[in-house]
């Protein structure tokens, strides 16, 4: 892995090649192993390694950006020269802001688990073997992944900023398929290989698939639903792209209306890279320390995330949420949590007279950005809860709902957060019960 001192040397050297007024260089990359299985055997098994350097050069009102994954030895200079070439041929950008001066940030401890990177392909295969054996015993077909890797993000600029963060990540996903084609699912995302409780996760997916037989068809319409954590994360995810970033707000695209009530009072959503369920980068891609931001507090729209450009425009300071340049989508929250309530998931089910329990959603997409209408489908097990108990499996359905409206009808929030990774975001969610949720059609 690219260590801190070696990173510092490369970045210093890169900056020394630039003749521009301001120079910012960052490196991202790492090594990842992924063992993938389906039909009860390993069908794909890969190791990937890559690092890429990106230079952003500023001169007057011109910017040049270039990136390259070849930057060892003599190629390092090339990478900088490419950015210089872009800059020379560039036209003025009237909205340009200067690079960030150094800022203080707190290190994120325990983000790197050395033991994880010692795990061998053979050990991965053994874990998978165990999962498959258990599934076979239950007459189920298993498909899934076991992945692990290390990551580095480091950035330096000509104003003296130097930031570095390294971390490991692991993931386990399991789909179980019964003889009727009904499926179950479980997953885990975290930092170290020892955190993955393969035994328990396999049991969850097995139980779900075994329950997912003799599905009944329910007519489309409005139902109370209990959404498990992963399903909740699918909905929350859209809020980040539709309106938590300052750019969308400044352009009038966001659903966020400052200090107005936009969801039920029991909803609080924060972005925090230091929270243990949503560990992230302690700085952003402009080298600015990342702040904790409360986006929705007790149902009121309270905050947005900023990068340097949107902060300049909004006359505030950056919250440290810049994406890599050229960040055309603006700032973005990458470490979201929907804060937990005080009842267990089991008790939510027990307190429910009638509702549909959803394991997860699939292929969710935005229908209307400003109204936060999202569509998608249920997947890997939906069940009818009656009289506090799961009574039968239900055929998959398509939903169309406004996320904000759904979050205005939440009657229960579970007390445990689960971390979910999707599209580069880490989202921690509880399970929730929504009293009104619209299903618009039947699915496979």
């Amino acid at each position: 892995m690219l260590g801190k001192e070696r990173a510092r040397k490369i970045l210093e050297e890169a900056i020394s090649y630039s003749t521009s007024e301001e120079t910012e260089v960052h490196i991202t990359g790492g090594k990842h192993w992924l063992t993938r299985f389906a039909n009860n055997y390993i069908h794909q098994n890969v190791v990937q390694k890559d690092y890429s350097i990106t230079a952003r050069l500023i001169e007057g009102k011109k910017v040049g950006i270039a990136s390259s994954n070849v930057f060892h030895d003599e190629y390092l200079k090339d990478a900088i020269l490419k950015a210089q070439e872009v800059l020379r041929n560039q036209i003025d950008d009237p909205h340009i802001v200067p690079l960030s001066p150094p800022g203080e940030y707190k290190e994120i401890k325990n983000a790197y688990d050395a033991k994880t990177m010692e795990f061998t392909p053979r050990q991965s295969a053994e874990e998978v073997e165990h999962v498959i054996k258990k599934c076979k015993k239950n007459d189920l077909i298993a498909a899934g992944t076991l992945s692990l890797g290390d990551n580095v993000v480091t950035l330096m600029n000509s104003k003296g900023t130097f930031v570095y963060h390294a971390w490991t990540d692991v993931g386990f996903t399991l789909t179980t398929i019964n003889s009727e084609g009904g499926t179950g699912y479980s997953d885990y995302y975290g930092t170290g290989i020892d955190e993955i409780d393969v035994e328990n996760l396999t049991d969850i997916a097995i139980k779900k698939a075994l329950l997912n037989k003799n599905q009944i068809e329910l007519p489309p319409g409005e139902y109370p639903v209990i959404l498990e954590e992963k399903a909740v994360a699918s909905l929350i995810l859209f809020l980040s792209s539709l309106g938590f970033g300052a750019l969308s707000h400044q352009e009038g695209r966001s659903f966020m209306k400052a200090d107005s009530k936009i969801t039920g009072e029991n909803i609080t959503i924060i972005d925090d890279a230091y929270k243990k369920e949503t560990l992230g980068l302690p700085f952003d891609f402009e080298g600015v320390p990342r702040q904790k931001v409360t986006l929705i507090e007790n149902g009121i729209a309270t905050g947005l995330v900023y990068d340097m450009k949107t902060a300049h425009k909004g006359n505030v300071v950056s919250t440290g949420h810049a994406l890599p340049p050229p960040s055309t989508r603006g700032p973005f929250p990458l470490n979201l949590s929907l804060l937990p309530g005080n009842i267990s998931k089991e008790d939510i089910i027990q307190n429910t007279d009638r509702a549909i329990l959803v394991t997860r959603f699939w292929y969710d997409n935005v229908v209307d950005p400003k109204k936060t209408i999202v569509t998608g489908l249920t997947r890997d097990g939906i069940y009818l809860v009656e009289g506090g108990k799961i009574t039968t499996a239900v055929k998959n359905m398509r939903y169309n709902n406004s996320v904000l409206e759904a979050l205005s009808h939440v009657s229960y929030i579970s007390n445990k957060l689960k971390s979910i990774k999707k599209y580069g975001l880490t989202i921690a969610c509880p399970a929730i019960k929504i009293d009104k949720f619209k299903f618009s059609g039947l699915s496979a």
Partner: protein, 483 residues
């Protein structure tokens, strides 16, 4: 130099008694230009170089991606691929066997007239800004954007069966969009299609043919008009899909479900499986008799065009759906034997750091025999839906829902005003069986989809869809905004 290193990797695999090995060395150069509201939003050039080594050992696969093109690093990567294959072999039930493929030595270069990397950045930016200026002349337009994307992929492929192929593939893309915003909503119009525009396997000459500036004012006016337009009504309707929306419809509801790896369960944990199960081959009425769909990697301009796939199998054109019947799947050397065939050449990898998967090339809906004008004229009451805004389909590829930027009402054979926020939903075979007319080759073009996702780790493929306009009866419209 690249060839020598690839041969080194091959030698190591062979000396360790691998059943099969292939090596790809890839050099990718790309440029993305974004303008917004009359100025630059971002310009970025990217270089990406590396080697992918795929090894079959004792009937099981291993893969290593390696960015360091030095002999000692190549050796480490080759041994890693072997180590991984050995680990995979512990759990295999049947040994992987590959369908035979011809030994090939060839060089293939995609057609182009002007190399975009030889065109000055200034010229490109000016070109986009001209269109941008036209859009901003329209009052109430809040956000205007313009994009250009260029990508040149030079790759060599060699395998342990003696095949050696060099390819040089050039992609060009460009488009503009205008957004009108008020307190309640926002409306977007794009040209020539949404999500960064049109993409083809061509050079800079594509940009000159697109007529961005000429269409800029029109789409800006349409975006504004949509703000005060009527909501698309709910109910069962006759719809006509515009080209780029029909392209995505083909992509999601025909391209993906005919991928044989999906059918066989390889993607069960992520992308999902397929309703087009093996028992349906040659006897399933996928669509009406008008519906003819081919997989065609040879189609000029198609974003999925190449000389050879990433297993070294030559580009081909095959019927997937013939007169409405399912007759073929997209296959690889590993999967084709399941249906007693040879690979039809659809194994494609996203760069050097990923292993090849079955991917679409160009999935084309063949033109019908009615002119576009007659198609509209023969429609008594319907909606023409253009330019995708949202898409979603289930993991078996049956239940889909799409939204488009605009709907044009058709009354008594004439276009009669617009509706906003159109959405439509259906079940794949019911939908394609309700297709009663497809317009002819004069209104046929091939559309690029540069962002098709599949696999774990996730890969992005660049694929094409040749389409004209097609009419569908009794389609459920307006569901996204119902209630």
């Amino acid at each position: 130099m690249d060839r020598k290193l690839a041969e080194l990797a091959l030698e190591i695999a062979q000396s360790e008694k691998a059943d099969y090995c292939d090596v790809r060395v890839i050099r990718i150069m790309s440029e993305a230009i974004d303008v917004k509201n009359g100025s630059i939003d971002g310009v970025k050039r990217e270089t990406d170089v590396g080697m992918g080594i795929r090894v079959l050992f004792d009937g099981a696969w291993g893969f290593a991606g390696n960015p360091d093109l030095k002999p000692n690093k190549v050796e480490i990567a080759a041994r890693r691929a072997l180590e991984i294959a050995r680990a995979s072999a512990r759990l295999r039930t049947d040994k992987v066997k590959l369908a035979p493929a011809k030994r090939i030595e060839d060089k293939w270069i995609s057609p182009r007239v002007i190399d975009p990397f030889e065109v000055s950045l200034e010229e490109k930016i000016e070109f986009l800004l001209k269109a941008d200026k036209e859009m901003r002349k329209v009052k109430d337009i809040k956000i205007t954007t313009g994009h250009m994307d260029f990508r040149k992929e030079c790759k060599i492929f060699l395998n342990s069966e003696g095949t050696f192929i060099e390819q040089d593939i050039l992609h060009t893309g460009s488009g503009i969009s205008a957004m009108a915003v008020n307190d309640q909503e926002m409306q977007v119009r794009s040209f020539p299609s949404s999500f960064r525009g049109q993409f083809k396997t061509e050079g800079y000459e594509l940009i000159k043919k697109l007529n961005l500036e000429e269409n800029a004012c029109r789409i800006a006016e349409e975006a504004c008009a949509l703000l005060s337009a009527k909501q698309c009504p709910e109910g069962l309707r006759t719809i006509i899909l515009g080209q780029s929306q029909l392209a995505l419809q083909v992509h999601e509801s025909c391209g993906h479900p005919t991928e044989l790896d999906r059918v066989l369960g390889s993607e069960a944990n992520y992308a999902g499986m397929s309703f087009l199960t093996l028992d349906k081959l040659n006897n399933f009425q996928y669509g009406s008799e008008q519906v003819n769909i081919v997989v065609d990697a040879t189609c000029p301009g198609g974003l999925g065009m190449f000389g050879y796939d990433d297993e070294g199998v030559p580009a081909q054109c095959k019927y997937l759906i013939k007169n409405g019947i399912l007759v073929e799947y997209l296959t690889s050397r590993e999967t084709a034997p399941v249906i007693n065939k040879l690979s039809n050449g659809t194994m494609r990898a996203d760069g050097w750091n990923n292993l090849p998967l079955i991917r679409m090339t160009n999935i084309n809906l063949l033109p019908g025999n009615i002119s576009y004008e007659d198609l509209i004229e023969s429609t008594d009451d319907g909606i023409l839906l253009c330019d995708n805004r949202s898409w979603s389909i289930d993991d078996k590829r049956l239940n889909f829902q799409f939204g488009t930027e605009i709907g044009w009402k058709i009354k008594k054979g004439k276009i009669a005003g617009i509706v906003k926020n159109p959405t439509y939903t259906g079940i794949t075979p019911e939908f394609w069986n309700s297709c009663d007319a497809i317009s002819d080759k004069n209104s046929w073009d091939i559309w690029g989809t540069p962002n098709c996702g599949k696999g774990q780790p996730p890969q992005t493929a660049r694929v094409g869809h040749g389409v004209s306009y097609a009419r569908f009866r009794n389609v459920k419209v307006g569901v996204g905004y119902a209630g």
